[in-house]
Each structure stands twice: as C-alpha cells, then as structure tokens.
Symmetry: C2
Subunit: 78 residues, 2 copies
DNA sequence: CTGTAGACTATCGTCGACA
DNA sequence: ATGTCGACGATAGTCTACA
C-alpha cells in the first residue's frame, strides 16, 4: 500500500465516520468536491495545509490522521 | 503564529535536536538543501509526501511532528 | 452521491550562482 | 553552513460538464 493510497483510505474512513458527503466535506474544508474525490481515489497528494483544513472539517487532529496513515504503511522512523 | 511558521519552527527544532545541517537533512530526505532552507524560513508549505520523507530522515514520526505544529498554533478540532 | 475528463491557475520543489 | 535570487518543470487544486 502506497502512501497515497493510505491517505486516501484514512480520509474516506474519517469522512464516513462523520457521515459527510464528499461535497459537504469540500464545502466545510474550503475545497472543490472534485478535489476531495481525487484525494479519495489516490490521485493527488494533499499539501500539509490541506491536511490541516480537512482535519478540522473532519473533527480530528492532523496528528491522529497521520497516525492512521502511518499504521497502514507501517512507517518506522530510523 | 501561522501554520507555515509553526511548521518551520518544528522542522528547525527537530533538525537541531538531531544535530544535522540543512544540507545533510536535504541529502537524507532526498530534497534540495535550498528547499529545506525555504521550509525553515516559512516560504513554502511542504506536501504530505515531503513531511513523511523529512520525518523519516529526522527520526521522528509524522504524527509527532504534526503534534508539535498543532500545539504551536493551538489547533482544536470542532 | 460519486467518478471521470480536460483545461486551467497556483504552488511545490529543483538548479546554478553568489554572499 | 546558511540565506537569497530567478528561472524553471512538476504537481496541487479549481471549474464546467456529464454519466
């Protein structure tokens, strides 16, 4: 599983937990729904700015989102 | 303190803790030293990919780096 | 409600040079 | 060892439209 795919999966999971549509999330985070869709299909790497905006709209911390991603790709600092 | 500045501060702090130069960090993380310099002067927002690469080179987790940033800007999920 | 496409603008990240 | 510049190619993110 690539980093991009892990981010996509983490975003979908967090959004569904909050029972939001891609469109609602886009609106709340200030992004185009088409872009949200691209992120969830692993077509784009979000900037850290986007991560913060999306996290806030999702009601989770960026750190928590990162942890979810780390687990999926088995990240280990050296 | 802006998000950009918080990221810059967190990166400088982590790099100095590891006693690396900007050049060494750039080399280890696979980025141009000029770019590391830009990040540390708050001139660029790193992509999430860069965050992962930099974190690995810094020997910390991306989540830990994000927590440091969150604290500095007082991030609160709604 | 989600996925896809194309064309667009803004920003990331590289590179050579110099102080 | 760091800071700065300008130019550049690559990629983030927008917008309209349709299935």
């Amino acid at each position: 599983m690539s980093l991009q795919e892990a981010i996509a999966a983490a975003l979908v999971k967090a959004r569904k937990k909050r029972k939001l549509t891609q469109e609602e999330l886009g609106y709340r985070a200030g992004y185009d729904p088409v872009y949200i869709n691209m992120l969830e299909r692993a077509r784009r790497y979000p900037s850290i700015r986007a991560i913060f905006n999306l996290s806030e709209a999702l009601g989770i911390t960026p750190a928590a989102l990162m942890e979810d991603v780390q687990k999926q790709i088995g990240f280990k600092p050296r």
